[in-house]
Symmetry: C2
């Protein structure tokens, strides 16, 4: 910057004003400074300023899989809020690996992010305590943190499933299969709880052979469908699927079962937790319990920036609502 000031024949302070877009520089002088900057190849460096101020105007976002539309939509919404504050965003995917998540989170903290938004994996986030004490703001999304007191943004999973199951019960379904994700995942556990509680409250028994909970794979889901729809003496007439990845696999396997002539006479009714692109264009359209990933991301980012402004706030737990969108598949009768 000294070189720029000398080349432009102005004071160092003037260069700093131009670089930082501060007022009080007349346009001709600013032009001269910019010319000198161009000629000298001056590059802004936020590193020293960062070390001095102790913060970096950046946040980290750790999700299950950035290639999954639910998480990419959530992350984009975080990015939008960050931008309005002049913050940049680190992103990382950890699938369901707690160790990879821990590594990513600590790497972000070592780069001195000011805040971090995490879809927590595993049953212990205490490793973040020193970071939070040192001033890193943290907000957990989609799932609450374990062993640590922090802000979280969740969805009303139990209430969402209740709406879907009641929708199927109202249409006369009594044999409703449930296909969910690995039960150790918070949302998977909550959603199957919603299924059990709603059936019990309506006076129905729970049939364990109608519940399948596992990390989704084609083979696993195919086996569950064959058990519930073909080999059962009293087959399911409806299905509830626990997230959109499972729903899409179920739809693909149902199409194959129908094509294979294995005796699936009628497609079961279907309600999916999670909306997804093109659900309205399938035949029939897929009835869903929609979450709003952009709203989840926005809410989390707003909480994060509120916390980064400081003050002694007690942890907040926001629970966002879901919405039933009937499109055909959930309205089929038994």
């Amino acid at each position: 910057m000294n070189d720029v000031a000398a080349a432009a024949g102005v004071a160092l302070k003037t260069v700093s004003r131009v670089v930082n877009d501060e007022p009080g520089v007349n346009p001709a002088t600013a032009e001269k400074v910019r010319g000198a900057i161009e000629a000298l190849g001056f590059r802004r460096n936020d590193g020293a300023r960062t070390l001095r101020r102790g913060h970096t105007s950046s946040i980290g976002v750790i999700v299950r899989d950035l290639a999954d539309p639910f998480y990419s939509t959530l992350t984009r919404a975080v990015e939008e809020v960050a931008l309005t504050h002049g913050f940049l965003v680190f992103t990382g995917s950890c699938d369901e690996s707690a160790s990879r998540q821990r590594e990513l989170a600590l790497a972000f903290c070592a780069r001195r992010v000011d805040g971090i938004i995490i879809v927590p994996v595993g049953d212990d986030q205490r490793y973040l305590e020193p970071e939070i004490h040192a001033g890193v703001a943290a907000v957990f999304v989609d799932r609450p943190a374990t062993n640590i007191d922090a802000d979280s943004v969740l969805v009303d999973n139990v209430g969402g499933v209740r709406k879907g199951i009641e929708h199927l019960l109202a249409r006369g379904h009594r044999r409703i299969g449930y296909i969910g994700d690995a039960p150790e995942i918070f949302t998977a556990g909550e959603r199957v709880r919603g299924y059990r509680e709603t059936l019990t409250a309506a006076g129905h028994l729970i049939d364990p052979s109608l519940i399948a909970m596992a990390s989704p794979s084609r083979q696993g889901i195919r086996a569950a469908l064959e058990r519930m729809l073909l080999s059962s003496p009293s087959p399911a007439t409806a299905l509830f699927t626990g997230n959109s990845r499972i729903t899409v696999t179920v739809l693909r396997e149902l199409a194959e079962l129908e094509a294979s002539g294995q005796g699936l006479e009628r497609r079961p009714a279907l309600v999916s937790f999670d909306d997804f692109d093109l659900a309205d264009l399938l035949t029939p359209g897929v009835t869903v319990i929609a979450q709003d990933p952009a709203r989840i991301g926005r809410t989390a980012a707003e909480l994060l920036f509120r916390r980064m402004e400081g003050g002694n706030l007690s942890p907040v737990r926001r629970e966002l609502p879901t919405r039933l969108i009937p499109r055909g598949s959930g309205e089929a009768l038994p």
Copy 2:
């Protein structure tokens, strides 16, 4: 770290070895160091090391929209390669705004990213020249850079469209409508060029009323469909759509046109540039010219790390192939 060494009763070098996961520390000693770290709330700080080494082990990725599955899949693949090198990833979406892209790119550079992967917007990326001269590696993806000599990873757009148009011609279609994105976007221009060249090479005239090029909107696409399919004296019997966002809108509008009873007697054949989730589950399945966004991201990241290793390499331009996947919609006869 001095405090940790004192508390654990070991040398400073030993603490450093444990923190950096270096060999040569016996397990019991390492355990003692980790206990002291936990008790003292030691936090790793990469900031000083970064300033000293002059690099940050981070890269920036700037795409059109992180919430778009094409770009989120590409970004996730970059992340995977970065992880194997111990690098973290900044991400940013700029839609089609050249000024936002410039701001994001320079902000990443001011944080001293070691490299940057950009889907370039606008007709001038010279603003990155000082950064590249100063040692920031840059790879452009999906579109080449303008006015700057740098690595790029593209897709064979012209060849991809050729495959699709020849597929339709072979089934007897002569009136093939083309619906593409805004013509100033590189890929949009290349793809419509593929359409024109293929028809011309096959001895057909180009009918301008069968070409619609604009930033996709429901209204614009609806108007194009009505012009090509309903009000034309010689309606199109087939459509080629320039990307998956356009394809999905076209499918939605076709369904509405059919439902509205406005006289669309038969659905035109359809080939889409870009594959998308569920294309196989629609009725009919959608025939696509598939790109491989994960491969694009992986290739770009590998080029970037090769360039970051230094050496005087001349700029490379990789062009990845596409693949025609017939699923039904592209096989309908006129």
